[in-house]
C-alpha cells in the first residue's frame, strides 16, 4: 500500500489447540524506526515475530513486508532474523557457518566471506575465524549468531529478545550495533520484556498482552497518553483536610497514599489544574504538586500488570 511501513500486520489471529496466542493484531513498523514489541512472557511476541517471518502461518489476517506481498522467506536476503531460541551448528567452523547462513539467504559466497571476516574483526572475534563453534564461549557464540543476522546488510532486522542471556558487556555491544544500524537507516523490530532498554532505544512501541494489542505508537505518544494523568501530591499536616477531594471519582481514578506523599492517577478527562485549585481552595498547605512523566515501565505495568501473572502460566500452551 505504502512504502512508509516496512512491516504491516493486519488483523492477524493465531490459535494453537484452542488457545489463542495472538488475537486480531495490527502492527505497523515505520521505515527507519527502532520498534519495540513489548509484553510479558507468553503475550504472543514470539508467535507474532514467527508469523512476520512466515515460519508459521496466521489463521486469519495478512502480513506485508517491505511493501511487498511476498513472505519473509522470499525476502530473507533483505531481512535479518534472530530467533528467541538461539542455535548454531556446533561442529562447524565459525567462518564456514557464517558463510553458509548467508548463502541460504542468497548472498554469494565471496561477499559472504568478506562480510563475515569484517564483522568478526569488528566484534573482536578475528582470531576465531577458523575455530569450531564448539570452542567458543557462550557470549562469543551469541555474537556469531548476531553477526549472521547482520552480515547480508539487511534493510529490516527482526530480533526476538536480543538482550536475553547477554552479560552487560555484550549487551552494550549489541546496543551499539543497533544504534549504528539505525543511523545507517536500517529498520529494527525487536521484542523485549525489559522496558528500560526499550525506552532507551525505541522510537515506537507496541505493547501486547495475552495476544492482543494494548497500545501502540511512538514512545512520546504512548507516554503522552499517560502523562498529565499522574500527579504526585504532598501536603503539610496530612491528608485529612483534602480526603474528600482525593476520593472524588470524577477527579481521581486511583490513589496510592504513601503517608508522606500520594501518587494519584487522574480520572479520564480530569484536569490537573482543577485538582490543584481544589486543593488550594480546601486550604491545604501544599508542599509538592508534580505532574509526573511516566516511565514506559509504569505505563506497561498500568496496562498489563494484572494480566501479566496469568499470562506466564499460559506460556507453556503457546510453545507446546
Amino acid at each position: 500500500m505504502t512504502d512508509d511501513f516496512v512491516v504491516e500486520v493486519r488483523g492477524v489471529t493465531k490459535t494453537y489447540a484452542g488457545h489463542t496466542a495472538v488475537r486480531d493484531l495490527d502492527l505497523m513498523v515505520p521505515r527507519g524506526s527502532v520498534y519495540g514489541l513489548l509484553g510479558p512472557n507468553g503475550a504472543g511476541k514470539t508467535t507474532t515475530i514467527r508469523m512476520i517471518m512466515d515460519i508459521i502461518a496466521p489463521d486469519v489476517g495478512s502480513i506485508r513486508l517491505l511493501g511487498k506481498d511476498r513472505s519473509g522467506r522470499d525476502l530473507s536476503h533483505r531481512i535479518g532474523y534472530l530467533p528467541e531460541e538461539r542455535g548454531i551448528y556446533r561442529k562447524m567452523k565459525v567462518l564456514d557457518l557464517l558463510v553458509f547462513l548467508a548463502r541460504i539467504k542468497g548472498v554469494d559466497s565471496s561477499a559472504a566471506k568478506a562480510g563475515a571476516t569484517e564483522w568478526l574483526e569488528k566484534l573482536g572475534l578475528g582470531d576465531w575465524v577458523d575455530k569450531k563453534v564448539d570452542d567458543l564461549s557462550k557470549g562469543m557464540q551469541q555474537k556469531v549468531q548476531f553477526i549472521s543476522t547482520m552480515l547480508h546488510e539487511p534493510e529490516l532486522v527482526i530480533l526476538d529478545e536480543p538482550f536475553a542471556g547477554l552479560d552487560p558487556v555484550n549487551t552494550q555491544v549489541m546496543k551499539d550495533v543497533l544504534v549504528e544500524l539505525s543511523r545507517a537507516g536500517t529498520t529494527t523490530l525487536f521484542s523485549t520484556h525489559i522496558l528500560e532498554q526499550a525506552e532507551k532505544l525505541c522510537d515506537s512501541v507496541c505493547i501486547i498482552a495475552r495476544g492482543s494489542k494494548v497500545l501502540d505508537g511512538t514512545v512520546a505518544e504512548v507516554k503522552r497518553g499517560h502523562s498529565g494523568r499522574h500527579v504526585v501530591v504532598a501536603v503539610e499536616r496530612g491528608f485529612e483536610s483534602v480526603r474528600a477531594l482525593l476520593n472524588d471519582p470524577k477527579l481521581v481514578a486511583k490513589s496510592d497514599n504513601y503517608g508522606q506523599y500520594a501518587e494519584l492517577e487522574l480520572a479520564e478527562g480530569a484536569d490537573p489544574q482543577l485538582l490543584l485549585r481544589g486543593l488550594v481552595n480546601a486550604g491545604a498547605a501544599i508542599t509538592r504538586f508534580e505532574i509526573a512523566e511516566p516511565t514506559l515501565n509504569k505505563v506497561f505495568i498500568d496496562l498489563v500488570g494484572a494480566e501479566a501473572a496469568t499470562a506466564v502460566a499460559e506460556e507453556d500452551l503457546v510453545s507446546a
Partner: protein, 424 residues
Amino acid sequence: MLKTWVVVKREFLSRVRTKWFVVSTVLGPILMAALIFLPILMATSGGRERSVAVVDVSSSDFGSRVAEMIAGPGTISAVRLGVDVTDLESAGDSLAEVVGLKRLDGFLIVSDETLQDGRAEYRGSNVSTQMDMEVLRRRLREAVLTERLDRMGVDPALVEQARIPIEMRTVNIRGGETTEESGEAMFWLAYLMWFILYMAILLYGVQVMGAVVEEKTTRVVEVLVSSLRPFQLLAGKVIGVGAVGLFQLALWAAAGRLLLTRRELVTVFGVDQAVVQGLSLPDIPIATIVVMLTYFVLGYFLYAALFAAVAATSSSEAEARQAQAPVTILFMIPAILSLMSMISEPDGTLFVTLTMVPLSSPIAMPGRWVVSDVPITQLLASVALLIVALVAVTWLAGRIYRVGILMYGKRPGLGELMRWVKAG
C-alpha cells in the same frame, strides 16, 4: 533450488569430513570381505580334526569298510571297534566317557540291520554340527551301497565307476540368451546386493533422522526456516546424506572391483589362493548396476522421508530412537521376507509380490533382477509404483516435518499428527 543446493553441499561436506565416514569407508569392505570369506575359510580349513569310532556289532567285517570310507578324504579319523551285541551297552558307556574326556568326538554303531534296512546310530558331542553329520551320513550311505553291491557279486571296478560323482554346471538364460553367469554366482551376487541395500538404506535413513533431531535440539532449525522453506531444508538434507551414501558405495564398488581383478590381494585374509581363484563372481552388467542404483535412490528417499518425519516429532535423540521403531520394523520385515522368499522360491508369488510393493520393492527387486528374468513391464510397473509411493510419503512427511521441527515437548499422538498434516 540454489538454496537447496547450498544445504546439500554443507550436509555432504560436513559428513565426508568426519572420522566416522573415513573409518566406515575403510572398515566397510574389510567387514564385507570377512563376511564373504570367513565361511569359506571355515569350510576349507574345517577347524580341528574329528575322530570317530565305528562300533561294529555286525556279524561280518562291514565296520572296516565304513571306517575306511569315513576316514576317506578330509579331516576325520576313524577306527573300527568290533563289539559283541551283548556288550554294546557297556561298550557304549565307556566310549561315552572317552567322549566326555574329549579324546573322541563320537561313535557310530553299525550292525547287520544297517545293511538290511539302513538303520545306524551315532552318539557324540558334535551331533549338532550340521556339516559333520552331513559328511557322516553321506559316507555311511556310500559304504552301505558299496557293501550291498559287493555282496550281490557286482564287479568292484563297476562299483568304483558307479561311484563317480556328478558335477552339474548351472548357466543362466536371460531374455532368451545363454549367458556366462553361473547360478551359484548369481545367487551370491543377489545376496550381496540385498545386504548392501539393506545396510545402506537403514544406515543412511537413520543418519537423516539424526541430522533432523540435531537441528531441532540445537535449535538451528528456526534460523534455517527463516531463510529456507522447510521442504527445501528437508530435500537438501535428504539429498546431502544420500550423496554421502552414493559416494561411499562408489568407493566400496571401486574397492570391490580391485579385489576381484587382483584376487591375490584377498590372501591377506588367509584364504587359500586356489579357493579365491575358483570363486566365480560374474561380471556385473551395466543394467544391473542401473537397477540397483535406481532402487537404492528411490528406496533411500522413501525411508529417509519417513525417518525425517519421525525425527521431527521428537525433541531429543533418545526420543527419536524410540520413535523410529515402527519405521525400522516397516523396513526390516519386508526386507527379511524378501531374502527368505528369494532363497526359497525366486519365481514364487510372494517374492514377485514383494518386488512390486513399494515398501519392499527397493530391496527385493534388485535381487530378483539378478536371479531371474524379470519382464520389463513388471520392472517399470514396480518403479512407477515406488515413485507414486515416494511422492505420497514425501508429501506426508514434509507436512509433518514442517510443523514438527518447531514443536517441543510431548510427542504428538496419531490424532495430533493428522492435524499437522491437514494444517495450512
